[in-house]
């Protein structure tokens, strides 16, 4: 065995454990928010990412802070995978002054630009143009960065899908479009709303590579993303990856989910579960021991509990925060 191979394997195990940790962080975080929401402590609309962890983590494991992502209304998973602070996130969801956005954004708008996380987004399809612009910016400023646009199967029918991808393609921008096809947009099935058989089929219309992967198979996502990110970094332009996945909870908290069948839920929450499967992969490939994973689980449990405590104990924003941060510079009554 050559040294380089050893090193590569060592690196992979470390990365693999990091990935496992992030996936468990997302799951634990979302399960926690779900529980807390039902007690009425959390205000507003909350869309949970649980079940789709393999997508955010499989993709973001190829990115660092100079790379950008755009996210969706279902953004917690992307935030965590991109390195956002759990305490700051939880406090934001509670509307606290210590939140990543000082409580002004909430669940649907968590952002951390310093980490390349350009915000969850309440507008379906809002991310396509933004990701393209971030890719353009990275290219013009020659940072070597790429931009990833996460979007849902519902968003795939919005006009911005078309405009964003076409633009990234003609300008050959370092952008990766990652479809999270979880089968539904709110209560509407993908098959009803989308005329394409798969979202990946649409890539051909932009002359870019498109592929469909099992979005609950972490390594399948990881490998597809690796190819796409490499292409982008090498100046070969955008790609589209469709990840077929499932959301464990409803569209938002409070959704009765009558559009789902109990069989599909059963199957997705158990045998197809991405974390269970990735756990098995790690163990059977000797990337980690049961003990390793157990201690990750425990640490995550603690980290999320800390985040909740932090959020609960944090103060609400002060009244003067209502009208700050609208502009960098603005004199309401004009100059002088």
């Amino acid at each position: 065995m050559r040294v380089s191979e050893v090193q590569q394997e060592a690196l992979t195990a470390e990365k693999a454990k990091w990935m496992y940790q992030k996936m468990v962080e997302i799951r634990r975080f979302e399960d926690q928010v779900h529980e807390t929401f039902s007690t009425g402590t959390i205000p507003g609309f909350v869309h949970l990412y649980a079940g789709e962890e393999a997508v955010a983590v499989g993709v973001c494991s190829h990115l660092d802070d100079k790379d950008y992502i755009t996210s969706t209304h279902r953004g917690h998973g992307h935030c965590i995978a991109k390195g956002c602070d759990l305490k700051g996130m939880m406090a934001e969801i509670y509307g606290k002054a210590t939140g990543l956005c000082k409580g002004k954004g909430g669940s649907m708008h968590i952002a951390d630009v310093s980490k390349g996380m350009l915000g969850a987004n309440g507008i379906v399809g809002g991310g396509f143009p933004l990701a393209t612009g971030a890719g353009l910016s990275a290219k013009l400023r020659k940072t070597g960065g790429v931009a990833v646009c996460f979007f849902g199967d519902g968003a795939n029918n919005h006009g911005t899908f078309h405009e964003g991808i076409n633009q990234a393609a003609i300008w050959n921008l370092p952008v990766i479009f990652v479809a999270e096809n979880n089968g539904y947009g709110e209560s509407t099935p993908f098959e009803y709303a989308s005329s394409c058989k798969s979202i990946a089929d649409r890539a051909a219309g932009y002359n870019i590579p498109g592929e469909t992967v099992d979005g609950k198979d972490t390594m399948a996502v990881y490998e597809a993303a690796q190819r796409a990110v490499e292409r982008a970094r090498n100046g070969e332009g955008p790609s589209l990856i469709e990840c077929v996945t499932y959301r464990n909870y409803g569209h938002f908290e409070g959704d009765a989910q009558t559009y789902k069948t109990s069989e599909e839920r059963e199957q997705h929450l158990n045998e197809l579960d991405a974390i269970i499967r990735f756990r098995e992969y790690l163990l059977s490939n000797n990337h980690a021991s049961e003990d390793d994973l157990h201690s990750i689980d425990e640490n995550v449990r603690e980290a999320v509990a800390d985040a909740v405590e932090f959020a609960e104990k944090s103060p609400m924003p002060e009244a003067d925060q209502l009208t700050t941060d609208v502009y960098v510079n603005y004199k309401p009554g004009g100059e002088e």
């Binding site: 649907m108 919005h158 709110e186 509407t188 099935p189 009803y192 709303a193 924003p317 609208v326």
Partner: protein, 344 residues
């Protein structure tokens, strides 16, 4: 007639009444039924709209007339425009008025202008129902109040009901109207109940309603802010000040006479509009009175609005964002020299 139903149910009834009378009325929008094409649901709806307002309609009218759409506002709002131009009477639901960002062209440049550009040789009997307003912890992109933007557009009528009974009668009028009407539903009103007549009835678009009579001061308030104004009026009455609360109910056309007559009687005007303060309906009404009612006025025209900032998520901030009875009392105290008016 003491039947009390919610604002949401009143809207549901209005749609039902008109759909029963006219098979050209259809409803389209995202998840207005929900669960399209799912065998295990059949004709059952999965959602009936994100807030359940259109629940049950698909069972009665079928999926040909209650159409779930892709998330493509330009697509289906534009389709509704030409369906209207070619003989249908569509009701298009724009889930949140904030999403007008995705389909303004279809409203402003197509729906509102076709008739004029065609020299009158077309009509657009289209209703766009849309949800607006803050107070729901829905943050900056789901809480705006944008009726001012539509009021500015010639070719659009704008309706903003404040009670269940008004909502039903005005929505029936809107659906039966031959012009494009944008119908604003405040999401925090849906569960509010009130007396609502059974069956088919209409309330004319363009007729304000005096929700409380008074001689000392006029408060024009829009949508759910009528309730804020009524609460303030209640407190003012305890100080012996009788406020008249005028609910315009539609902003385009605007019932100018009712407002001007009220100001003629009271000589003082406060306008309550929860939209951001610039170029909004409050400034529009103020400018009307500063022109045509100037001679009636004994004091400056005051406006109570949201500040010039997006809607914050944090409940602590959002509660400061909206107009309150206290904010109304504070400006009234500037109009009427009586310190005791301000209770807080």
């Amino acid at each position: 007639m003491a039947r009390q139903i919610s604002f949401a149910d009143a809207i549901n009834e209005a749609i039902k009444e008109t759909m029963r009378n006219d098979e050209n009325v259809i409803l389209l929008g995202e998840d207005v039924a929900g669960g399209a094409d799912l065998d295990h649901l059949g004709d059952e709806d999965a959602w009936g709209g994100v807030m359940g307002v259109t629940k049950g309609l698909v069972q009665e009218f079928g999926r040909d007339r209650i159409l779930d759409t892709p998330i493509a506002e330009a697509g289906y709002v534009g389709a509704a425009v030409s369906a209207a131009a070619t003989g249908m009477r569509p009701i298009a639901e724009l889930m949140f008025n904030d999403f007008i960002g995705s389909c303004l062209d279809e409203v402003m440049n197509q729906g509102a202008k076709l008739r004029y550009m065609f020299g009158g040789h077309a009509k657009i009997p289209l209703v766009i129902r849309t949800m607006h307003g803050a107070g729901f912890r829905a943050a900056a992109q789901h809480s705006q109040t944008l009726y001012g933007m539509f009021t500015a557009i010639p070719g659009v009528k704008v309706v903003v009901p404040s009670t269940p009974a008004d909502a039903k009668g005005l929505l029936i009028s809107a659906i039966e109207d031959d012009d494009m009407v944008v119908f604003f539903e405040d999401k925090t009103l849906y569960n509010v109940k009130g007396e609502v007549p059974e069956g088919h009835y209409t309330i004319p678009i363009g007729k304000a309603d005096i929700k409380r009579a008074g001689d000392d001061l006029t408060i024009v308030a829009i949508g759910k802010q009528v309730n804020t104004a009524l609460a303030a009026a209640e407190q003012l009455a305890q100080k012996g000040i009788e406020a008249e609360v005028v609910d315009p109910r539609s902003l385009s056309p605007l019932d100018e006479n009712t407002i001007l007559k009220s100001v003629q009687k009271t000589s003082r005007l406060v306008i309550v509009d929860e939209a951001n303060p610039r170029c909004n309906a409050a400034t529009d009404i103020s400018a009307l009175v500063a022109d045509k009612g100037f001679d009636y006025l004994d004091a400056p025209i005051k406006m109570v609005t949201a500040p010039h900032s997006p809607v914050p998520f944090s409940p602590a901030l959002e509660d400061l964002y909206l107009p309150t009875p206290e904010k109304i009392l504070a400006v009234v105290s500037e109009l009427i020299d009586d310190e005791s008016v301000v209770t807080i």
